[in-house]
């Protein structure tokens, strides 16, 4: 939906085929990260997510009966979006669809067809021929490009006979979303070896909007799924956790196992994979939906330029390059978290518990405790679309990084990077250039005088700087000062035309 909205807003005709009708009702993702909200803001749907979502900062980690430590993701000042919100995935999807309706009314060429299942496909030279099944009978349709966002079990991937390799973790997690008006604080509580009866290896309690709480129990490998999902068994566990007499309704329960795997390549000629169809991670760290939205952010502008003949098709290969890099980072983080949660050998359990014991008394051990490293945006270090980094500037805004937000009086920097190539000149002269090979370049001139956020995040010790951003707000190149030629050549690199 994010991709459809982004492309449609740019004027590219998009047709969404979904074998369901309407927003998915399963409660899956709950944790949405700052970068996702920033992308949603660019698409116009972010504020409603933030308004509806639960903002949280404090996490507590327990081991058995003891509290090991507590952390505070104390948000940094000068950002429009919070570090994280909790929001049920159906709301997230609904706000995107609502924004698509707004865009449609404004003339964006987007069409959504529910209960339209893709059943076969044939790649031709200049299009993909799809067979689509509907309640009113089947039909065929030609698409110039097909983006397969059809989930972890991707039928399109299967139809093309492509592999999806990685690791399956031998573990089962029971999730229960319960509705209750309890006065637990808005914090993330995580237990290793929880003290309540039959809670398994670990447990999680986390608040969502509408008085819903997400509860997770790690049950191990050899279980009887059907039995564990029976309401009385779920209730017995939840009762033990919340205490006798707690009043709640079960909203949704499910048992899942998880895997970390990805496709070799995300682009196969005119078929491009995005989201869970391309890569799957364990939920610890909230990297699934968050990385899917970053896929969309990465792909939309590239596809738009290719379709309009402003960039070579090779630009689409960099989507695969960059997002494979992102997926590997997410898989690495999520695999490490899983190894900490479920020690795979006797000695790894000895070390795990040693870390938890030490963390109680000594701050040094706390960073070693891993109950999921929360999703942070990916930096495309050393990849092919990067231009020169000529500024001795801050590390966090280096070439390849996504723009870091900064408050500018009443607005924010990210609001001023509107999905086009943008040249930001901070206390530096603006080179005279406003398009490169037909691709427009927007200018933004700012001063860091009196703005400590800009100075700290974009200048460091430099007196001034010129930053070139891609439409997805990643840094292409930066200089202390730049000529029009410098900018043009960096922009050509970022358009996949080589140096």
């Amino acid at each position: 939906m994010a991709l459809a909205l982004d492309l449609g807003r740019k004027g590219t005709p998009v047709l969404v085929l979904d074998d369901h009708d309407g927003v998915g009702q399963g409660s899956r993702a709950i944790c949405f990260a700052k970068r996702t909200l920033e992308i949603a803001n660019r698409l116009g749907a972010g504020q409603r997510m933030i308004d509806k979502g639960v903002v949280w900062n404090v996490g507590k980690v327990f081991h058995g009966d003891d509290r090991v430590f507590q952390f505070n993701l104390q948000p940094e000042d000068g950002h429009r979006c919070p570090a994280f919100i909790n929001l049920q995935q159906p709301y997230f999807e609904k706000f995107l669809v609502d924004e698509i309706r707004v865009a449609q009314d404004e003339g964006a060429p987007i069409e959504i067809r529910g209960r339209n299942a893709v059943t076969a496909l044939d790649q031709r030279d200049d299009h993909v021929l799809l067979d689509v099944d509907t309640p009113d009978g089947p039909y065929q349709i030609e698409a110039e490009w097909l983006i397969a966002c059809d989930g972890a079990r991707s039928p399109v991937r299967d139809m093309m006979g492509l592999s999806f390799d990685g690791r399956v973790f031998e573990d089962n997690f029971l999730i229960a979303d319960v509705k209750m008006t309890a006065d637990f604080p808005t914090e993330r509580w995580f237990w290793f070896e929880p003290p309540f009866k039959d809670a398994g290896q670990s447990a999680l309690l986390h608040k969502q909007p509408d008085d819903i709480w997400r509860i997770d129990f790690q049950l191990g490998w050899d279980i009887d799924r059907e039995k564990e999902l029976r309401e009385d068994n779920v209730r017995a566990r939840v009762d033990a956790m919340l205490g006798e007499g707690a009043e709640y309704e079960l909203e949704w329960t499910s048992i899942y196992t998880f895997q970390c795997r990805r496709m070799q390549e995300f682009r196969h000629d005119r078929v491009i994979f995005a989201g869970d169809s391309a890569h799957q991670v364990s939920p610890f760290g909230a990297r699934g939906a968050n990385s899917g939205v970053q896929d969309a952010d990465n792909l939309a502008w590239k596809l738009d330029f290719v379709i309009r003949g402003l960039a070579p098709e090779a630009l689409l290969d960099t989507y695969s390059e960059e997002r494979v890099h992102g997926a590997d980072e997410n898989i690495l983080n999520s695999t490490r978290a899983t190894d900490f949660l479920t020690p795979k050998s006797e000695i790894s359990k000895v070390f795990r518990n040693a870390v938890l014991e030490l963390a109680r008394d000594h701050p040094f051990a706390r960073p070693l405790v891993n109950s999921g490293r929360l999703s942070v945006p990916c930096v495309y270090d050393g990849l092919s679309l990067n231009g020169p980094d000529m500024l001795d500037g801050p590390e966090r805004t280096r070439v390849g990084a996504p723009a870091v937000d900064a408050k500018l009086g009443e607005t924010y920097l990210l609001d001023r990077l509107p999905g086009e190539f943008t040249l930001l000149c901070i206390d530096a002269p603006a080179p005279d250039i406003d398009e490169v090979d037909g691709v427009p370049l927007t200018h933004l001139g700012l001063t860091a005088r009196g703005n400590p956020f800009l100075k700290e995040r974009y200048l460091g010790d430099a007196r001034g700087a010129v930053y070139l951003f891609r439409p997805d707000q990643h840094v292409v190149a930066r200089w202390p000062e730049a000529s029009a030629d410098d900018v043009a050549s960096a922009m050509r690199i970022a358009l996949g035309k080589g140096a």
């Binding site: 000895v350 040693a354 000594h362 040094f364």
Partner: protein, 61 residues
């Protein structure tokens, strides 16, 4: 910094004594746990990632 594999402990016999003494009377399980805590404490004290990698290699033989 490089991993120091030359003698560096002033009172080798005294240290060795102390190391065995903390394990005195512990079950295998408790000794393993103590060793793990000790490794983590020492590793943090060293801090330097390259030295830690070199130490892990040296221990592997």
């Amino acid at each position: 910094m490089e991993l120091n594999l030359e003698p560096n402990i002033a009172d080798p016999d005294g240290f060795y004594d102390e190391l065995l003494a903390v394990h005195q009377g512990l079950s295998k399980e408790d000794s393993d746990a103590l060793n793990a805590r000790l490794i983590l404490i020492l590793a943090n004290h060293v801090g330097d990632r390259d030295v830690l990698t070199a130490a892990l290699k040296a221990a592997q033989r």
